[in-house]
Symmetry: C2
């Protein structure tokens, strides 16, 4: 079985974007603000958007299950205030839940949070709870920079984040650390901000001691860990200089990297440097890079090819494609067992 731990609903029906546009317009003119109930998307529209896209590619590529969360760049937590984000998160999370209900065994929902710059993360708990208890969410996406590229939030090791971690531990769900659109002209969203956030988050975790407080907390760093595996010697050396334990002890009991690296040499490096148990198969398909690589004739984001061609032992391949992800996402594993057997 092959599980993709990093999928977003990038192909939602256009009505979703239109509703969001109205919501944003309504920030300046509340009389035009839409209500959540104004958004009408039928199951047939959901099916069309999924079957022509993610499900088609999953079938072509042999991917059984995708952990499916709202479109990352559309989270845009910098827009409006907490109420804005709360309405938007509720709508987006419901759509991912509906997709998961339409395709049992193929999609498991993961929640976005109604984060808002400068607002206490504890305010996200009701939506988190709702998504786990009502929608069966198996994970959440945590944005370390809700400001959208201004990086005004404290590091992930700050106690203000702890209420979210407490709930994650209680529910035994992981978080993927994932930023959203950059509104800072210095940072291209998918070419700089995403990768920078991955690197930044990992270094925050090295600097702190979060997993002493939360020994069972699990965080997934997407996009192959940003710059981290490529600079693994630097990170090992920085940890030494900071008198931290070796990274295997200090963070690798709790931190995992996905395989969203879009060429063979990058995947080879990831597999070479990071312990197999810390690597989770993923593609973030129909995401940042949607074209066919002219050098290979295959889609850049068809990461299964790179993993298959990496010369892994069969047990390591199965760990990366299935077993590690089942261990990190036990609610997804239970759902799969229940739905697929």
């Amino acid at each position: 079985m092959i599980i993709d731990c990093h999928g977003h609903y990038t192909t939602a029906p256009p009505a979703l974007g239109a509703w969001r546009d109205q919501q944003i317009a309504g920030l300046n003119n509340p009389t035009t603000a839409p209500r959540p109930s104004d958004l009408k998307i039928t199951d047939d529209e959901l099916r069309a958007s999924i079957e022509a896209n993610q499900l088609r590619l999953m079938d072509e590529r042999g991917i059984d299950m995708t952990i499916f969360s709202p479109r990352a760049s559309f989270m845009a937590h910098h827009v409006g205030d907490f109420v804005t984000s709360a309405e938007w998160a509720a709508i987006c999370n419901e759509l991912c839940y509906r997709v998961s209900a339409l395709y049992p065994g193929r999609f498991a929902p993961a929640a976005m949070l109604p984060q808002s710059p400068g607002v206490d993360p504890v305010t996200c708990i009701p939506e988190l709870t709702r998504c786990v208890e009502e929608y069966g969410a198996v994970a959440l996406n945590l944005n370390p920079d809700p400001s959208g590229g201004h990086w005004t939030a404290p590091p992930l090791t700050d106690q203000s984040w702890y209420p979210i971690y407490e709930k994650m531990v209680e529910y035994d769900i992981p978080a993927m650390v994932h930023v959203s659109t950059s509104v800072n002209p210095a940072f291209h969203t998918t070419g700089a901000h995403y990768l920078n956030a991955d690197t930044t988050a990992f270094m925050q975790l090295i600097e702190g001691n979060l997993f002493a407080d939360f020994p069972t907390l699990r965080l997934v760093i997407p996009h192959g860990g940003g710059a981290v595996p490529y600079h693994w010697g630097r990170f090992r050396g920085l940890a030494m200089a900071m008198k931290k334990p070796p990274l295997e002890e200090h963070v690798l009991g709790n931190v995992f990297f996905d395989t969203c690296v879009y060429h063979q040499p990058g995947i080879d490096l990831l597999l070479d440097v990071i312990p197999t148990k810390n690597i989770l198969f993923a593609s973030e398909m129909i995401g940042a890079v949607r074209d066919i690589d002219p050098c290979t004739g295959h889609y850049f984001d068809d990461t299964r090819r790179y993993i298959d061609n990496a010369g892994l032992a069969a047990t390591d391949l199965a760990d990366i494609q299935e077993h590690n992800t089942r261990a990190v996402y036990p609610r997804m594993s239970a759902l799969l067992t229940q739905q697929v057997g």
Copy 2:
């Protein structure tokens, strides 16, 4: 011959730091502000600081020449205003010049600029000019984020940077794109901010079209290009999606990566993915990571070992260790020829 294109004066005599501390204290209490002439460092002090450190390691590692600039984390352009940075840059640049004069053929000076957040980069031209014409500076360090981690400056493709590029073209000198200390608690300076800046700058160059305006401009992205080579497929795919030419045409005529990557697999990836002509040997020794790697028994920053062990053809090795750097830094090459023959 082996040329290290990325060295900083990280071991300057303590009087330099004490002067800077006084300068910073004087920002709030101008009566205590030191004058530049208050700083006294003798040639013997310079020699002691260099011979016990950089020169010792250069000899141990077989490095002939280092391009030597002020300590990057101490540039701290966010401190004070333009006058603060101008005094500080003048002092730091003079010290690197004096080191180069004490050791002909071993160090070539590169200049820091008196950047200051929100101040027009054109204000840096007098110091740049002075460093090239009086000190024989062969390059400069350009900070894409003088705010120190708040990223308030426009992208490097913005026309406000053009006066610096015009001078670089006039003098035929390259710039290394190098940030300084992060004062943003989200970003660890050497573990996140440095690498993020490298990735960010490269993506800014993909987004823009700077080298159409400056066909002979040359920029060096340090630390092995941040996350770029590891995600080369992503960057190629993003460029395609943006309807840019292939990266070889669009940026690799003008952009170069150094080899400050502190483990063998990272160096192997860099050499595998990036054309040889775009790679310049460097170590940034006595910098971010100063310990011995317990996995190898050698210093993390002894990058010559990784390059030597990468199985390169002799001509490629010589290009990376010498010829490429001579081509990118022609004033350094001329200086070397004049001093060493």
